[in-house]
């Protein structure tokens, strides 16, 4: 065991750093720095540059465009991206659907859908949760019945409502969990469908969240016809796909590298923000103690993730232990926004979303949006299986209770 980077790893780091510096879109950088809301093309612009380089999907199998990087290289990759504050590649296609496709999909499905995900050409969204099925996802009610179309082909006729569909307003396609056997046990009657969001009968309605943003949506499905060949894996066995996807969703959710970057930013802010005694906030014994505690917590999480990754590279997929990463990762992300809001002092209060800066700035730049970020980040302990559910998973699957 050691933590040293080999010379070739250092060379890799330099290569990644230089690539980001030379190729990151300037327009996107400026929008991010101004805190503007991003559009579809903004999200895809960096993805497509990486796809050209062959770096958009590092964790994929080599044959579908993976990079075959060592765990160390993947670690360096996320570190450098966090350091440069690049826009994270959207997870819906790349890290949620794709593993399901290459594990459970037919050769035809893989060939049809994986390239569009890899190249950043097709925007995917997730149709999992329903108003009545959140933590208890298996109780979902969206119904899919098999029918014969006028063209003589077989279809599923889908009816129901999905909710919390993140960035669904931009989606070209969605992966949906639907009930194909209403009489079976909850988990047994579910199928995994890929649905073209342009199909007639689909309505996407915005949900405005408490900080004022539009990230999530309701998706209504009214007699939506889906070709049977768009089902992944066997009919009524979609829960197997769903579970595999959730484990991948959880392992990516730790966000260690990004939290390290945000911690560094918090330190910088606390080095300039005033404390009550006229010194700087980072010298304030109360605040300093909280930053130190958070840093130690994050170090522990980083090593837990590294140990998990080491297990994965030796052939184990992400197991129920990934729930630890989800719980701790999101707690740390929330704590970071909490301390950033605290650091802003009085300037946490102004609400400047959408007002523009033409009226003159209010408060220091680093205080902009900190309250909104704090409010918004409360979602992290709710989504992807709430942290209470993650504790249930650990209790059952890891501790055998």
């Amino acid at each position: 065991m050691d933590l040293d980077f080999a010379p070739e790893d250092e060379a890799f780091r330099q290569e990644v750093r230089a690539f980001i510096a030379e190729n990151y879109p300037k327009a996107l950088r400026e929008k991010q720095d101004r805190g503007e809301e991003l559009g579809k093309e903004d999200y895809f612009s960096w993805h497509r540059i990486l796809a050209k380089k062959g770096w958009a999907t590092p964790s994929w199998p080599k044959e579908w465009g993976g990079t075959d990087w060592t765990p160390t290289q993947r670690y360096i990759w996320s570190e450098e991206n966090a350091r440069a504050d690049t826009l994270a590649i959207l997870p819906f296609g790349v890290s949620m659907l794709a593993p399901v496709l290459w594990t459970f999909g037919t050769e035809e499905q893989k060939a049809r859908f994986l390239p569009g995900i890899r190249e950043g050409q097709v925007w995917w969204c997730q149709g999992y949760s329903e108003p009545g099925a959140g933590s208890d996802l298996a109780s979902l009610k969206t119904r899919a019945e098999r029918i014969k179309g006028d063209d003589g082909k077989e279809y599923y006729l889908v009816n129901g409502q999905k909710t919390w569909t993140t960035l669904g307003q931009f989606a070209d396609w969605g992966f949906f969990l639907v009930r194909t056997d209403p009489d079976a046990k909850p988990q047994a009657g579910i199928s995994f469908l890929l649905i073209d969001m342009k199909t007639p009968g689909i309505t996407v309605r915005p949900i405005i969240t408490l900080e004022g943003g539009h990230e999530v949506n309701d998706v209504f499905l009214d007699n939506v016809k889906v070709p049977v060949e768009n089902r992944v894996f066997h009919e009524n066995q979609g829960w197997t796909c769903a579970k595999a996807l959730l484990a991948h969703e959880r392992s990516g959710i730790a966000g260690v590298a990004r939290s390290k970057r945000n911690l560094e930013r918090l330190r910088q802010v606390a080095r300039t923000e005033p404390a009550d005694d006229g010194g700087v906030l980072l010298a304030d014994p109360f605040f300093k103690r909280k930053v130190a505690e958070l840093e130690i917590d994050l170090t522990a999480l980083e090593f837990t993730e590294l140990r998990t990754l080491a297990g994965e590279s030796s052939g184990k997929g992400p197991g129920p232990e990934s729930s630890i990463l989800k719980i701790k990762g999101t707690e740390i992300q929330q704590r970071l926004t909490e301390l950033a809001l605290e650091a802003a002092g009085h300037y946490g209060a102004p609400y400047l979303r959408g007002l523009g800066h033409n009226l003159g700035a209010v408060g220091p730049d680093e205080a902009h949006g900190v309250a909104g970020a704090y409010f918004n980040t409360r979602k992290t302990s709710i989504y992807g299986g709430s942290n209470e559910i993650q504790r249930n998973i650990i209790a059952k699957m890891v501790l055998g209770l």
Partner: protein, 381 residues
Amino acid sequence: MDLSFTEEQTLLRDSVAAYLGDAYGFDARRAAIASPAGWRPKVWSAFAEELGILGASFPEELGGLGGGPIETMVVMEEFGRALVVEPYLGTVVIGGGFLKRAGTDKAKALIEDLIAGKAVFAFAQAESQARYRLSNIATKAVKTGAGYEISGQKAVVIGAPWATHLIVTARTAGGQSEEKGVSVFLVDKTAKGVTCRDYPTVDGRRASEITFEKVVVGPEALIGPLDGAYPLIETVVDEAIAATCAEACGVLRKLHEGTLEYTRGRKQFGQPISAFQVLQHRMVDMFIQVEQSVSMSVMAHIALGGDAEARAKGVSAAKVQIGRACKFVGQNAIQLHGGMGMTDEMAIGHYFKRATMIEGEFGNTDHHLARYERLSLDQAA
């Protein structure tokens, strides 16, 4: 010793609650805070005329109802329950707090206007370099013949867009953070040289960044002793903190009640989620925090009548308890509502946002813990 409310205080609470129940529903509030004005002058008139609460805590000889801190506490708790944005704190508690101690004829006349709902006040105290230290004041007031000339900048002045008058703290002598050399002035908001940059706040109120550029005021603008107003400022701010703690209690109760109601109605895994022990215990812990907060609010309001040290200690202790409760109860209310708690259309998120802001108002938990330590422990050591 008697910790019960008088009949009058209970009547006051009931009448405020009844009015807010009619006029201050969630949708009406939402429409008001989204409107260009951001508040409802009609509601303010009703406070003055229909309810008569703007004068509740003023002595009778000044035209008030002769109440005190407990009356303010009762009103503020109800305001917390309804998330009232109208500037009662800035006007009655802070503006009134300074004016009733000013002793001038001008102050007396203004109190009449205040009680009638015609004069509205905002407290221009905070500055960007000061964090929560009350004595850190760079805004200067220079003596010019008969009056003063005020120059400087004030940060996040809550309620300023609605105010007719500003209560401005300024340095008339001494170094930037010295307690000596601080004075308080009453400034007409329309005075020449006052520039406001107005904006909404994340909890649905309005505030301003205010620049004072050689604003000329007469000698009657001075409230309290020249150079020696710091103890007065501390007194009034402590009263404002106690009132904010009372408001927080109303907010916290609603957060807790809303969570109980939601978890009873929300079914997952074939049962209401309130049946899960892990969530029951969480809601019990929230409940304990709410009760402890109400206790500390009562304690602080009683402490306002004590000497300066007891008052400061009691108020800071209450603010620490309430700051922590705002965080714990607020965060868990959202968590137990799940995704619904994240939506703008449910009231719970709006209570959470107000609770979050209260934690930072007039000094956050760390600030008051340090103040408490100085008052309670350092002197004993």
